[in-house]
Symmetry: D2
Subunit: 342 residues, 4 copies
């Protein structure tokens, strides 16, 4: 691949500080299965940032595992998940949630987001007792699959509805770094801990080799959580690998700094595109830019840069997706814009 | 309930001939678990009507069991079902298919029916390997959940597409009697056996106490089927109870006679409604009538008759559903029409 | 088969009173899915005999369904069942419990029975957190698979241990009629309701066409039970079929009278065998007789009677199993004994 | 922990060469989800060593995932696994295999190993069609959970039986490095590829941060394997993390060199123990030493070294487990022996 890839935010390895720590700690002998000192310290750091001293935290290797384990822990066999039609668990995880036995009730999305009205509608349409699975958990992502973010007011409204209707609220945070570092964002990690029953913090897409941290705030859901981590294959013998990385990310502000960097370069890219007289498909809120470009221009750009063509649109144009990451440089963005204008 | 119920086609027990046979055979000692002589004879009768001497046939106690067992037998964990948005497995079986691990891919329906275009669209939208579950089985019902039927041309087109694309075709026949006895129908049991990989013949709604017969035509799907029947709780110790009933239904033409009776009374009802100057929500093809009645009339009718109010519509009206059965009498229908006109 | 079958207790149809009631009520229009008046009355009768006015009761079509539904309702994915090595769920239900996701921890049995010591040992050996599934439900059968019964003292000791250790106690009552009608029995239905969290009352083997009644005494387990009945295919449209039969069995003492008849004929058979100078493999406690007969005698008996040869033993002998039922007559037993002696 | 840990073979990070490669390749932009160039090269290297140019290979993050994914891929819902009573999937994976729906049939082990006789016995005892789950896959580990290894003759005999009886043979290779580097070993990677249908090569316990390579030799099992990897959460976005490590291990002889080092130090330890007049519980075949030590000596040793006390035995003694790894030094072993003798 050419050096200027805008394909995704997981094309490189890890931020150099992460790798240095792996080296530095390599020969220290540690307990396995989550009891290593780095995992313990990383969780302590996280609890402080979450302002949630009692939160249970588990570190796992992939986002799909985080979703499988969390939902398996929360639901009985007759209970269903409510998700937006763009939800990652619905369209990109090979039926992982159904494979552990649960129906997903699909709700029309708005800019990738769920609304209280959409959830209420799903409840109304799934109430024929006992012939319909019982809605029990609301799944949403922040940032969403299309790069948008929830405001504090939006997430609070959903959280209130969930509490009122006896629904668990579960947030997929594969790109929570990007969301909380967005210019428009007014949520904090502590807000999310308070508003949800459980959620996870994605490390892979911010600059770790791998690793996602599941945070369980609702105590009634925490008791036997470790069994599910093990049963689904999520408990690493060398849990230190995840602990060291999360500790490095959260002992300082590294996690948010890296996410902010990616967001800012996406803004730069976005501005460059509109200043070149081209249109965006959607406002750029995080590190994903959706732009409408003429096919001829796309072809030319593809000689130098890698990115996905998302969708054909009329008039010989297409929507392209451009993703920035911790590793994207200002020079790459400038080169792209230059090529646009040329 | 008042004697004039149009609530559903399972309000009474069984057709008297069925009960007589249960009595007559009661003390004969039989082998259990499907090896009784009545089950064996019933299957022989069915194979003849199916013109399929090698079909494997299993008798089970409920339609949901028939769906669970059939789908569990056919699919591996990563494989998904394609269903219309009105499909019984999707909206009235409490997530039974997801509970055994399979995603259901939802297709927009037309009059309750799937089309080749709808299936093709589902295939196109579920092709991101390996991030999406693999479409592998098409589920449809005949008659459909809204009382419509598939023509031979329609079912053949779907069957052809399934063969071409490596999909199993599975037909839920909870009301297959009504479908095959409809005035417009041009399909036979033998056609259905030939066009599908497996399907089931619903006994409960035609006039049995209980019982559905699963027919497996695709030999590659038949080999270990019995394990699934047992594993999901579908193997009755006194399998004779199902065997006797199916034998009585299919040794003569009783099954189709009863279904035809119900369809004809539905037609009578339907005609009476339109002749009274009222409208139907949909053409009456089988034993379900969907009529649009003023709310005041509905209230009056409910003093004498039982039926479901299906959906509110504008102008102080509602759609009502009226179902006829083997046990519905011409007098009941006449009384209803008289009340309409009064 | 010859009229003198001792193969099992489900060779015939139903007791004639049962069939009469099905006939008598046949045309009464009833609500479906458990809301028919017969099911409601049958449950009221049962609650009275159980001395448990708040017990939740569900009627289903087969014993395997009763086990699947009950266990699916009680357990989360990481929780396991404790069962004797002879347990029906372990050795005769095609992995039905594993198919819904649960491990079965096997305990050595004594005369087909679990003991507190055996359960305690299973707890001790399955305590490596979180690397082992968590023992959560004790499954036992009364009568057991080998025809023995639990005394009140034995069941109380197990119940006490379960309460102390946070385990649910679930009793499979496929042959609970035989157990509670045994000469040695000192338990009542009300005792069993009090000592277990949930259990089921087998109708099929006592003289119904089909039907088992699940009784849930632990209120925390009852709330969403109906969803599981539907999800696993156990909710019959014509639930009246089960309601009528259970009502007939329990509005009088019919259930226990039939079970007692079978037990008494088993005793007669058992006594005849020992008086003929032959040995029993185990004491006859219910309606199953296990006798050790010379192979030559077995061969001769098989000309006239049907029964299973259970196990070869030394000296040209074998253990045979002889089962009596509500339909077995004294004449059949006498004929068998005469043949023995001849 | 003190520097002299004999607790397990996953107390440290990774072999330094592995970490160097992660650093060296860090900024290279790569495709995700298994399509990175390192994974592709690693698989090519492995295929060469396997002498199996068509083998399908998937890299996943944990051993439990490797077991879940492999078994989910191979079995239909009614099919069961045969395992030794010491099998990891049976006693240390929290019911992971049952959680995906499969029964495990337990066979008595001999030195941690399965035998053809044991497998044959399991087949004989699980043949009541269709009331018992169908045995379909044999699971074994090499090295076993107790550190023993299979000879070529032993594995061949099992493989032959499996082929004859239509069983898949699946080998858990969490410690396959230790097994194939053992003094007594006469098997090669290529032998194992030839004798099994699928198996996995454990990286974690040899000296990788994490990573196990599943090898599928039976083509009929390979076709849709990737779906299962994704569905169970095993597909890493940054698959390069696994690819780089396996490439480094297998482009040279590093994998086997590290395993051999651990084995040799275990031999040194083992010899030291017997020369000190103490007994072994079992012969030391790989990198696990099981020794019988007096409790007083154990207490003294625990001041300086970490290890597990495995089991109490008579005469104030206990069995202890001592594990060596790529990171164990000769000095540590010498210090331990000296302390023994002191």
């Amino acid at each position: 691949m050419p050096s200027g890839s805008f394909l995704d935010d997981y094309s490189e390895g890890a931020h150099p500080q992460i790798l240095e720590k792996l080296l530095e700690t390599n020969l220290s002998q540690q307990k396995p299965y989550g009891d290593d000192e780095y995992s313990i310290k990383a969780k302590a750091c996280l609890r402080e940032k979450l302002e949630s001293p009692d939160a249970a935290i588990y570190l796992v290797a992939s986002g799909t595992l985080a979703n499988i384990i969390s939902i398996a822990n929360c639901l009985r066999p007759h209970e269903a998940v409510i998700s937006a039609s763009t939800g990652h668990i619905l369209v990109r995880e090979t039926g992982a949630i159904e494979a552990i036995g649960h129906k997903i009730i699909v709700v029309t999305q708005e800019n990738g987001k769920l609304t209280p009205e959409g959830i209420q509608d799903a409840l109304d349409k799934n109430a024929v007792y006992p012939h319909m699975a019982k809605p029990r958990l609301v799944y949403l992502s922040n940032a969403t699959e299309v790069g948008t973010i929830y405001t504090k007011a939006e997430l609070t409204a959903i959280s209130d509805l969930c509490k009122k209707r006896g629904l668990f609220l579960f947030l997929d945070g594969a790109r929570i770094g990007a969301a909380l570092s967005a210019a428009k964002n007014d949520l904090t990690l502590a807000d999310i801990a308070r508003l949800t029953d459980l959620f996870w913090i994605g490390g892979t897409k911010v600059g770790m080799l791998l690793g996602e941290a599941i945070v369980i705030n609702n105590k009634s859901l925490a008791e036997d959580f470790a069994f599910h981590v093990k049963q689904r294959g999520g408990l690493l013998a060398k849990s230190r690998v995840l602990g060291i990385q999360f500790l490095e990310m959260f002992r300082s502000n590294l996690f948010f700094d890296l996410a902010k960097h990616a967001n800012e370069l996406a803004q730069l890219l976005s501005t460059g595109i509109t200043e070149a007289g081209l249109k965006l498909e959607a406002e750029t809120e995080t590190n994903q830019v959706f732009a409408i470009l003429p096919n001829a221009l796309i072809e030319k750009l593809q000689n130098e840069f890698h990115f996905y063509v998302w969708e054909k649109v009329p008039d010989d144009k297409a929507v392209v997706r451009l993703v920035t990451s911790w590793a994207t440089t200002k020079d790459q963005v400038t080169a792209f814009i230059k090529e646009l204008e040329g």
